[in-house]
């Protein structure tokens, strides 16, 4: 593994909420073109980790993106550096239309010709969004909102996408659909860091995975390896 294909390098990351240490010094890496997943139960620190990477919560330790430290870089600059985020709970702007929601993600981009191509791409992946283009985001169904959130992350043309629980609250058939899209996006060259409670689906689609337990990484390995791991099976996959 050469040093240059490291997209994201997290070392001894700690996150405090007041006196509570939510993340207790975790380290992991994401390499170019990978889907890496962080799985774990509620309160394990998965979402906090993503928020730290996108600059929304203060953190300690080290986060390097393509060899550059993210310390002190404001959230909007991190997006401009190519890290797109799909926040937990989707973060759809309910009063803005689908189109406006998507346009917001192109905020930092100057390449207008490419932007319209990306609109086409998003609408090819999610034809449903095109049907609803002028509808306020708040009137979409849960699954459609999730599609919009993923589509929006694609529009910002990050070379890396952070996905926070994309399957949350979705019907099983839509979960399949979302994971199909994630694989598709990844095949297109986008590196993905995926946070999930749905360990089964996440590990099946990821190249590598890390298991988070109350703020520390307890296991790591390739997706299939972790799927076969008895402790993972017991804890997350129902035996």
């Amino acid at each position: 593994m050469s040093q240059s294909d490291l997209v994201l390098e997290v070392k001894d990351l700690t996150i405090f909420y007041g006196n509570i240490k939510a993340v207790k010094g975790i380290s992991f890496t994401v390499r170019e073109g990978e889907i890496v997943t962080l799985i774990g139960a509620n309160g394990a620190g998965k979402s906090s980790t993503l928020r730290a990477i996108s600059g929304i919560v203060p953190w300690g330790g080290e986060i390097n993106y393509r060899g550059k430290s993210l310390r002190g870089i404001p959230a909007d600059r991190i997006v401009a550096m190519g890290v797109a985020q799909v926040p937990e709970g989707r973060g759809i702007f309910g009063n803005l239309t689908v189109l406006e929601n998507l346009k917001l993600a192109t905020w930092q981009r100057k390449d207008k010709a490419e932007v319209s191509k990306d609109f086409e791409r998003v609408f090819t992946i999610f034809p449903r969004l095109k049907e609803r283009i002028s509808q306020p985001g708040g009137t979409l169904s849960g699954g459609e909102q999730q599609m919009l959130a993923v589509g929006r992350a694609l529009m910002s043309r990050g070379s890396m996408v952070l996905l926070d629980e994309p399957s949350m609250g979705l019907a099983p058939v839509l979960v399949q659909e979302i994971f199909r899209v994630i694989t598709e996006v990844n095949a297109g060259g986008t590196t993905v860091l995926l946070v999930e409670q749905n360990a089964n689906m996440a590990l099946r689609h990821a190249h590598r995975g890390y298991v988070l337990e109350t703020g520390t990484i307890s296991m790591s390995g390739s997706g299939p390896d972790l799927l076969g791991e008895p402790r993972v099976k017991e804890a997350y996959l129902g035996g």
């Binding site: 929304i56 997006v79 973060g91 803005l96």
Partner: protein, 365 residues
């Protein structure tokens, strides 16, 4: 072609509106002309509050403070040197202001710029706060301004206030400023900046995660708002010709909040309509404050009874029109034409739209 048609309609509406203003200025008595002027001033107040709260979601209660800055700048720059000497008989005015006398337009612009500057300075630390805390901080700021006005005698003449301010404000100035405000705010919220502001209102964390610079957009909304509040403040002092610090109590801010909520958060049409309705309505309710005799029942006059009625009305609006009279809807030519053709009967706002005058027509295009 469609855009052209709307532009033409707008220009025609502006011409008709100008005609109406000229007619009002020449035929109505000074009492009603003043009320119409106040309608314009309150329209600006409500529209700017809508920009900060309705579109950007920042609950700021500093309106009275910004208006005070604008009003005092408007007064101090237009008062003649002789009048200033007469006003400042306890303590002389600061020497650099003693001989300043400016035409109205530069005065308005300076009033706006100063309010915007101070607004941004206040916003700098205050915008780190959210929700109620921001409201408390800005309310505190507004009170600080008022205390300054009372105590900085060489600049503001303290609690005695300023008298004899030239009455430059007429319907052309006031409604001209209101239309410019509506036009600029409308352009702003329809731009990509406006989209970012609405995103901040809907979900701050998500907006930040998408790469929206929160601070920049909040400051921008604050500064633009403060500028036009300052202008409206200067229009106000040059309309009523006498100001003192008590005019800018926090009750002024609450009136503005009330008007904006009544009109609809996120609707400029609503702000303009509600501001005009509110101003005219309060005048029509004046008889309530004098003594009323119904048969053998005698109700003594109580100053402030109007506000009781207003509060009841506000309650009524909140109960039955939760999103205000207009919600987030805006007047637009497309809507009007559709409505005239009977295609769009579902909007309930038709009756209110009929009584609003052309000012709100500015909202579309």
């Amino acid at each position: 072609m469609k855009i052209k048609r709307n532009t033409l309609l707008t220009l025609a509406a502006l011409a008709v509106f100008y005609g109406l203003l000229a007619l009002a200025e020449n035929t109505l008595n000074t009492y009603w002309v003043r009320i119409l002027n106040l309608c314009a001033v309150y329209t600006i107040f409500a529209v700017t509050f809508n920009l900060i709260f309705g579109y950007t979601g920042q609950f700021s209660l500093g309106h009275a403070g910004f208006a005070a800055i604008g009003a005092y700048v408007g007064a101090l720059l237009t008062l003649s040197p002789a009048q200033k000497q007469a006003n400042f008989f306890l303590q002389p005015i600061l020497p650099f202001l003693a001989n300043v006398e400016m035409p109205f337009l530069p005065t308005l612009i300076i009033a706006g710029l100063l309010a915007a500057l101070i607004g941004s300075l206040v916003a700098w630390p205050a915008l780190r706060l959210r929700g109620d805390y921001l409201a408390i901080a800005t309310l505190g700021f507004s009170e600080i301004i008022r205390i300054f006005l009372v105590n900085w005698q060489p600049l503001t003449n303290g609690a005695m206030g300023l008298k004899g301010i030239p009455e430059y404000t007429n319907l052309y100035w006031s409604w001209g400023a209101a239309i410019v405000t509506i036009f600029i705010v409308k352009r702003l919220i329809d731009s990509s900046y406006g989209r970012a502001m609405k995103a901040i209102r809907d979900d701050e964390v998500a907006a930040e995660a998408l790469g929206v610079n929160l601070f920049k957009h909040k400051i921008m909304a604050f500064a633009v708002s403060a500028f036009f509040i300052g202008v409206a403040g200067a229009l106000f002092s040059n309309l009523i010709s006498t100001i003192d610090p008590k005019v800018f109590l926090f009750t002024l801010t609450y009136q503005i909040v009330g008007i904006t909520v009544m009109g609809g958060m996120g609707s400029l049409t609503g702000s303009a309509v509600a501001a005009s309705l509110y101003t005219i309505f309060l005048e029509l309710l004046r008889p309530i404050e004098s003594q009323i005799t119904i048969g053998s029942l005698m109700i003594p006059g109580r100053p402030g009874m109007r506000m009781v009625i207003f509060s009841l009305l506000l309650l009524f609006v909140i109960l039955f029109y939760r999103k205000g009279l207009f919600g987030q809807k805006e007047f637009s030519w497309d809507w009007l034409i559709g409505f005239l053709r009977g295609k769009n009967r579902k909007m309930k706002t038709s009756q209110t739209l009929g009584s609003t005058g052309a000012a709100d027509k500015e909202n579309k295009s």
